[in-house]
């Protein structure tokens, strides 16, 4: 696709000279880019089937189904009693409804056009469809940055296939990010447009787009911080203008009102600290506008101006101080945990283990950047440098976005997503600048430059520019130079396309509900344990059987098995999660009362020891321990789960607390029956297990999937004879043993 767009240069240069044919060409290229963006996201549908991926999308899917079947107002008031048993969740008021409403609208529109379509297919294909729109929005945004029309097309192509964005928008990844990145780029485009024109209309459109963004993703805070920062930097550069005033105020007022319509957001925009910079800059701009007016009304003197500026500065400082005081006095809520952990990188690790436990919140190592952006990562600084040439208001935006975006992406892997658009824009600017220079058929004549040389003595004195751009552009003389650069750039661009295809196909297209492996003969083998187990739950348990599992699987159980769960991926109640963590990490005698109190019928765990599946519960176990320790530091201690030498082991050397924990017992219960005596092995942790497996008294094995990935246990009812479970189980075992002994031989009379 980048090949398409680069060949478009030739066409543009030779054939498409007319304005209309250029427009047609552009439309065709953009359509091709959108097609490529959508097509490259369909790997998983082609390889597996049209299925929802991962964890969170299952909840979104379930909510969408509810919206479609019960209507919008019921969805708004939805109280879900099938999650967070026994608390339930006010789902309508605690989610971002943008995604579900979008799919609902599409569904009803298609139905109105009498196109019969399953809501699942809409959900699966929403993200790829939006990626086509994102490519278009990127085209618009880039066109605002440069006069070079080809840059926009290149940026759209980059955005369409960059793995950093594909990672969150493959078919089936029905998550908030699917539509939010489109809205993010669109909001930025409208902001730049509004700022350039100083137009209230564009500002209002920007606010609308922002409101939609707030309705769909918590990442809207990125916009809420970036736009005020941009405005602030502009003011600091002495670029205050009525354009800035009009666009910022119309965005802020309308956008804040729009965002407050979402029940989940409510009054947060005037109460929490992450929204305060936007409010502060809003006030600051009012002040500047007032001073600007006064200055224009009065005969101005230099001292007067200084006086005014110092007033503006001091008011700003006082406002900042006031903000600090109000925050510390507790009137404004302090920074949200997730957000705060971006600034103080050690914060989450100490205070909120539940945030630190999510792999999306880990910092980013450099290979991840290269993996997700390939050559764009080194073209990106070049593009940012180009912005310094002109440094108009919109270029300042790129610089601010680039620095802030790279910082965020470095702190949190997940925020690679917000960085990708600007990388694509900046890299496209660099590439198009390069291609423009080297692809032009006109070569300058060597004798012209003498005149040019004479002229540039005056040009070098130009103030405020970059050192490297003091001289005027001459052009490229030789065909060889053009050939070398164009050929190598073509190679890099082709390599980029190959890289993106490879990454998408290998890393980002597995639904994770269904695992794929290769058989020795090269054919594909599908491991479908998750769906097998959820189907078992759906068909063999009561409709209201409560399933206890770690929170990762809550949404999937709700979505696929349709059974109530104790905790799920909406981690709003840390104590409840810690309760499950405690039940999993304690002895049976402690866990059983907890499970009875929460009316648990079944316990579901994920065990990868047989298959070598490393994302299982034993590997997540320490997080359960840590989260439980946060609430019950006296009963659960992380250290007890390590051997005296500080190792985390599961074999015979494992600590007693580890061996007694419910999670350990459930994972390895009956496991050694699969192997010859004494050879039971855990393939994930490469450990040889003790010869005698653990015994379970209060639970009984209900179901184990084909590859042992999912194991489900039924919680035993109270004993009929009022014995405790341990003695009842011991009695049962002893009974069997006795019977076995009977058969062995006749009784022998005891002689003394």
């Amino acid at each position: 696709m980048s090949a398409t767009s680069s060949s478009s240069f030739d066409l543009l240069a030779s054939g498409g000279r007319g304005k209309s044919s250029r427009t047609l060409l552009r439309v065709v290229i953009l359509l091709f880019i959108a097609g490529a963006a959508i097509a490259s996201r369909l790997f998983s549908v082609i390889r597996f089937e049209s299925i929802i991926h991962e964890f969170d999308p299952w909840f979104n899917f379930r909510a969408t189904k509810y919206l479609v079947s019960h209507g919008f107002y019921n969805f708004w008031d939805w109280f879900d009693d099938r999650t967070w048993h026994p608390l339930g969740r006010v789902t309508g008021g605690t989610l971002y409804p943008g995604l579900m409403v979008t799919s609902g609208v599409i569904y009803h529109a298609l139905r109105a056009l009498t196109i019969p379509v399953d809501i699942r297919n809409i959900c699966v294909l929403l993200a790829p469809a939006c990626s086509g729109l994102t490519a278009f929005a990127t085209y618009l945004l880039t066109n605002e940055m440069t006069t070079n029309a080809s840059a926009g097309l290149l940026a759209a192509a980059f955005m369409g296939i960059a793995p950093g964005y594909i990672s969150r928008s493959v078919a089936g990844s029905y998550d908030n990010e699917a539509i939010s990145i489109f809205l993010l780029v669109l909001t930025f485009y409208l902001w730049i447009k509004a700022l350039k024109l100083g137009s209230m209309l564009w500002g209002a459109l920007c606010a609308l787009s922002y409101g939609y963004m707030v309705a769909s993703w918590g990442g809207y805070a990125f916009i809420t911080c970036l736009l005020p920062l941009h405005a602030f930097v502009l003011v600091c550069m002495g670029r205050y203008s009525t354009r800035l005033y009009v666009s910022y105020t119309s965005w802020y007022v309308l956008g804040t009102l729009a965002s407050m319509q979402i029940p989940f957001v409510g009054f947060l925009p005037v109460k929490t600290s992450e929204h305060m910079p936007a409010l502060g800059i809003f006030g600051f701009l009012q002040l500047l506008a007032f001073l600007d007016y006064v200055r224009s009304a009065l005969p101005s003197g230099r001292q007067f101006q200084i006086f005014l500026w110092s007033i503006a500065g001091s008011v700003f400082l006082i406002g900042l101080l006031g903000l600090v005081v109000i925050t510390s006095a507790g009137i404004i809520a302090p920074w949200g945990g997730r957000f705060y952990s971006l600034w103080d990188t050690a914060y989450a690790k100490i205070h909120i283990p539940i945030i630190a436990s999510v792999s999306e919140h880990q910092p980013t190592a450099w290979p991840a950047f290269f993996f997700d952006l390939n050559m764009l990562i080194w073209l990106f600084p070049a593009g940012v440098y180009l912005c310094f040439q002109e440094l108009a208001d919109e270029h300042v935006f790129i610089v601010v976005y680039a620095v802030l975006g790279t910082y965020f992406a470095g702190v949190m892997v997940r925020l690679m997503l917000t960085l990708t658009p600007i990388v694509c824009v900046a890299a496209a600017m660099a590439v198009s600048q390069m291609l423009n220079n080297y692809l032009s058929l006109k070569s300058p004549k060597p004798e012209d430059h003498a005149v040019v040389e004479g002229a540039d003595v005056t040009a070098t004195k130009k103030k405020g520019g970059l050192k490297s751009t003091n001289k005027p552009v001459v052009g490229i003389y030789s065909l060889l130079s053009k050939g070398v650069v164009v050929t190598s750039m073509t190679i890099y661009l082709l390599l980029f396309v190959l890289h993106c295809t490879w990454v998408t196909s290998n890393a980002y297209s597995s639904p994770s509900v269904v695992l794929a492996s290769r058989m020795p003969d090269g054919s594909q083998h599908i491991i479908d344990d998750y769906r097998e187990a959820y189907q078992w739950l759906r068909q063999n348990t009561k409709d209201d059987a409560k399933i206890m599992s770690w929170w990762d699987y809550g949404y999937q159980i709700g979505g696929m098995a349709d059974r109530p769960t104790l905790v799920d991926n909406n981690t709003w109640n840390n104590t409840h999660i810690a309760t499950v963590g405690k039940a999993m990490s304690s002895r049976e005698e402690v866990s059983y009362p907890i499970m009875r109190q929460h009316e648990v019928d079944y316990v579901l765990i994920v065990f990868g020891g047989l298959l070598g599946y490393s994302g299982d519960d034993i590997n997540k176990f320490l997080w359960m321990v840590r989260i439980a320790e946060g609430i019950w530091p006296d009963e659960i201690r992380e250290r007890d789960y390590f051997t005296p030498r500080g190792e985390y082991r599961v074999d015979a050397e494992a600590s007693q607390t580890m061996k007694d924990s419910l999670m350990y017992k459930m994972s390895y219960y009956n496991y050694n029956a699969l192997f010859p005596p004494g050879q039971a092995q855990d393939r994930v942790r490469g450990a040889k297990l003790p010869e005698v497996g653990p015994t379970l008294n209060t639970l009984e094995e209900a179901f184990t999937s084909e590859n042992w990935i999912i194991r489900i246990y039924k919680v035993k009812d109270l004993d009929n004879f009022d014995r405790d479970h341990a003695s009842a189980a011991a009695f049962d075992r002893g009974h069997k043993k006795k019977r076995g002994g009977k058969k062995r031989g006749p009784r022998v009379l005891r002689v003394e």
């Binding site: 910092p363 290979p367 405020g464």
Partner: protein
């Protein structure tokens, strides 16, 4: 469990020696008044036995420490100011002794016998003796031991621990003394900076308004962040590591690992690549001389190609399944 046995005998002894003389109420008053003048109470072998003797209707919190430098107990010295702050603010906040908690410190130099009797090999050790009689009596006379495994502890953490074990009583909060010195130093430095800026403003302003400076600053920070600097900062990765054969391993194996030096190499590579791209895009078309322009194009193209090839080969070290490469680093 040797120290428990020892402790039991110690407490039995103390019953014999002092129990007859003083009632538990008298002992609490005595130590509480001592604590009021200087908390925590400095103990020796005898007073330790007295304080922790049964029956007691108060909670005794005793830190067994070794402050003298010859023992080289770094943790003891780090924890001491926090401990003093905790005991002082608790005792000051509870002058009437309603919480019935006494804080004591037993240094190794004063209480060698106790350390031996308890069989202690390490210091510091923080013991909490629950009351054995009275309204807050705990069923077990064994003291609770605080866990120092996670390095030096702050007063707040220990405070939380004590609060957990002294329910239904007032818990005076920790009052950190107002750090005048810090504020004075901060104010001095700030005013110094302000006057410096005021004086140097005419010279600083051109630098601040210089586009090249800002371009350099933003490019450097972008390169830092994209080469994984924040990962180093958060995970505290080693700067460099050996390869087990006496050599240096520049690149950590695995996709999720990196060394400090590795990120600097990567940042340098990105920097060279970006600079080559900038040169080709911006600088070369401005060269007026045809010959030198040709030279520069070939030079920068070669640098770009070689560096990119090397970058791909480095990436293949990190991700062994990566199929793409460019010559010469295949």
């Amino acid at each position: 469990m040797r120290w428990l046995q020892g402790l039991l005998s110690v407490s039995l002894l103390s019953v014999g020696a002092f129990g007859a003389k003083k009632s538990t109420e008298e002992r609490f008053k005595e130590y509480h008044t001592k604590a009021l003048s200087s908390a925590p109470v400095k103990l020796n072998d005898a007073t330790y036995k007295d304080l922790t003797g049964v029956p007691r209707d108060y909670t005794g919190v005793v830190l067994l420490t070794a402050l003298e430098s010859r023992f080289g107990c770094e943790l003891c010295r780090q924890f001491q100011p926090e401990w003093e702050l905790l005991s002082r603010s608790w005792t000051k906040g509870d002058k009437k002794g309603e919480s019935r908690v006494v804080y004591g410190t037993l240094d190794f130099s004063d209480g060698r016998d106790t350390f031996v009797a308890l069989g202690l090999q390490t210091a510091p050790v923080l013991l909490l003796f629950q009351p054995t009689v009275g309204p807050h009596a705990s069923p077990s006379a064994e003291p609770l031991r605080y866990d120092f495994t996670n390095g030096p502890q702050s007063a707040e953490q220990v405070h939380d621990w004590i609060v957990r074990h002294t329910p239904d009583r007032p818990h005076p909060a920790i009052k950190r003394p107002f750090n005048w010195m810090k504020w004075i130093i901060g104010f001095t430095i700030l005013s110094g900076l302000v006057s410096l800026i005021y004086v140097a403003w005419p010279y600083v302003l051109p630098v601040l308004q210089n586009r090249n400076v800002w371009a350099a600053v933003s490019l450097i920070s972008i390169l830092l962040f994209t080469s994984g600097h924040m990962f180093n900062h958060i995970r505290k990765v080693p700067y460099i590591a050996g390869d087990g054969k006496g050599g240096i391993s520049y690149f950590a194996g695995g996709f999720q690992n990196q060394y400090g030096m590795e990120t600097q190499i990567v940042a340098a590579m990105y920097g060279v690549l970006s600079f080559a791209a900038i040169s080709l895009a911006v600088k070369v078309p401005r060269i007026a001389d045809a010959k030198s322009q040709q030279m520069m194009v070939i030079l920068w193209s070669a640098v770009l190609f070689l560096m990119y090839s090397f970058l791909l080969s480095v990436f293949r070290i990190k991700n062994s399944g990566y199929p793409f490469s460019l010559p010469p680093f295949m």
